[in-house]
Amino acid sequence: MEFIKRYLPIAGLLGIVIGVQLLTSATDTAYYLTQLTMAAYYSLLIIGLCVLMGYAGQISLGHAGFFAIGGYLSAALTSNDFSAYRETAVMRFMDTAGLLLHRQSLYGEPLLNIQPWPACIIAVVVAIIIAFLLGIPVLKLKGHYLAMATLGFGIIIFRVALAAEFFGEADGISEVPPFQLFPGVSVTGDFSDRVQNYYIAWGLLLLGLVLLLNLIHSRVGRALRSIHGSEEASEAIGVNTARYKLYTFVISAAFAAIAGSFLTHYNGGIGPSEAGVMKSVRYVAIVAVGGMANLWGVLIMGILLNFMSLRGMFGTYDDAVFGVILILIMLFAPQGILSLRIRNIFRTKRNDT
């Protein structure tokens, strides 16, 4: 029974995903799939952040930093030329293991890149290691201090992306090659592969969602909610609060890095704005709108708001819209927009009179 209850909505979502794709191909509006694919990748980051913020109760204003670590490392390793390091032991080992890609530049010079698969794995592992090392000291902090420390981390990543030649400075990295997952299936922005990429992105999002739903309904999830309620109390009943907070932080960072890596291959490039503070604030805003500890609400809002923003519906007021949303939600509906029920509004009115 419990099993059906948990997986029925996911099956429903899968049905909607397939339905939307069939609808767009039937009505000849397949261009919507591009934004839906990108929205799915952003939502992958956002549901990871939702578990950290809503369930474990730890704010992070630096998740664009993890997204950028995933995206930038994938892009730099698959696009930068490493032929200068051809003779180093690491490179020779990777070459014999088949992890390198020999290409030729437009002028016929040999180029040496790393294959997308190992690059993606390196990027995610680096993000996990950084999250682990950062999480140990940072998660001891609370409230304002935690917010500022994670914000500071995000800014350092932004500065590094902006200043390092390896990451293309202000221009970012472009012409990132496609990411071949299996023979015949690759993450790329080509129009001919649009439908395929839509399913890759949504498949990944659903997989992430199943993982997180299982996580929050497990022992770990109950521990996290007790931490959110009161750290001292859960400490007193024997929950290792530091360890669970760190786990969640690392998991959400890994989600962000995977999303960054895939989206970079899909877009064929990444720029420093992806690491910017406004991106982190936007992710926090979406989690807040969805209702913090409400994975489904956050998912719906993540898809909706990202889709609207990517379609350019907010025009030049894009950032302002997210600022206003953030304030309105926090002032009037701190439990998320889905917690507002028309019935409740009437009830409070009746109490006033």
Partner: protein, 296 residues
């Protein structure tokens, strides 16, 4: 290092340091009366600079700065009345998110009013190349004006909190809100006033620094982070500590240019912030016992 070069770095450090200290004191004033860190603090400096640049078309410089300070104080009061005043027992997370939202809205409004261009007030005395000679090194008089004005603000505030009745009332709210209420102090008005005060000193600092550092719609965020670093270094809520910490950070940053690329100047301050948060979250000058009793 030559003496004159050393002094150049030192004066640059003191100039930025005292501006950071003003931002940090702005944080402290609001933190002391409400327990909130106002993430929109940096935007007050941006508003002070931008508004006085716009008003300069209509009136002389001193009047433009005065009116800009008054307008920014009204903005500060408006923020408090509209967003903060009526919330009962807000959680810290909620207040963080609200003040971040406010800072985004002010910044975006500034972007739509003034555009992306970089502006600056003219130098108050002479021009960009005017200089006075101190110990054989040449310093722009504007640097001395910034240091002078900010020092006056710091001294004024310490007298204000010590000797005026409204200053004493604000300190009472900081010490114990309920006791202050029982003594007949209108705590809510004091909170509004604390927002006005920190908006006012922010706007003044933003206007006097504008000729040197320039004003742009988005330079509030950077200042807010530096100011927060300084507030933490000095111990949150401790204003003399903030002045010492501000000068320290400014000077460290100025000398870091001689060893690190300019692009990493911001990273230095943030690295210091992270290190201090990890090892001494109660600040260099704060006491850990007192910090444990505070709510973050």
């Amino acid at each position: 290092m030559e003496l004159s070069l050393f002094l150049q770095y030192l004066f640059a450090g003191i100039t930025y340091g005292i501006i950071y200290a003003i931002v940090a004191i702005g944080f402290n004033i609001i933190y002391n009366t409400t327990g909130i860190i106002n993430f929109a603090q940096g935007e007050f400096l941006m508003l002070g600079g931008m508004i006085s640049i716009s008003l300069l078309h209509f009136m002389p410089l001193p009047a433009a700065i005065t009116v800009a300070v008054v307008i920014t104080m009204l903005v500060g009061a408006l923020i408090e009345i509209v967003f903060i005043r009526w919330i009962e027992n807000p959680s810290v997370l909620r207040m963080i998110v609200i003040t971040i939202g406010i800072s985004i809205i002010i910044r975006e409004a500034a972007l739509h009013i003034w555009g992306e261009s970089v502006r600056a007030l003219p130098y108050f005395i002479g021009s960009a190349v005017t200089s006075v000679s101190i110990l054989g090194t040449k310093i722009s008089p504007q640097v001395l004006i910034v240091i002078g004005v900010c020092s006056v603000v710091v001294v004024f505030l310490s007298f204000f909190f010590k000797f005026t009745s409204i200053g004493r009332e604000m300190r009472a709210c900081a010490a114990n809100r309920r006791a202050a209420t029982l003594c007949g102090i209108n705590v809510k008005n004091m909170v509004t006033f604390s927002f006005m005060l920190s908006a006012g000193i922010g706007a003044l600092a933003g206007a006097v620094m504008s000729p040197i550092t320039y004003s742009q719609y988005d330079n509030g965020t950077g200042l807010a982070i530096k100011g927060f670093t300084v507030a933490i270094m000095g111990g949150l809520g401790n204003s003399p500590g903030a002045v010492a910490a501000g000068l320290m950070l400014g000077i460290i940053e100025a000398f870091s240019i001689s060893v690190l690329p300019l692009a990493f100047q911001d990273a230095v301050a943030i690295a210091i912030l992270l290190i201090i948060l990890f090892i001494r979250p109660h600040g260099l000058f704060g006491s850990s016992e007192a910090a444990r009793l505070k709510e973050f």
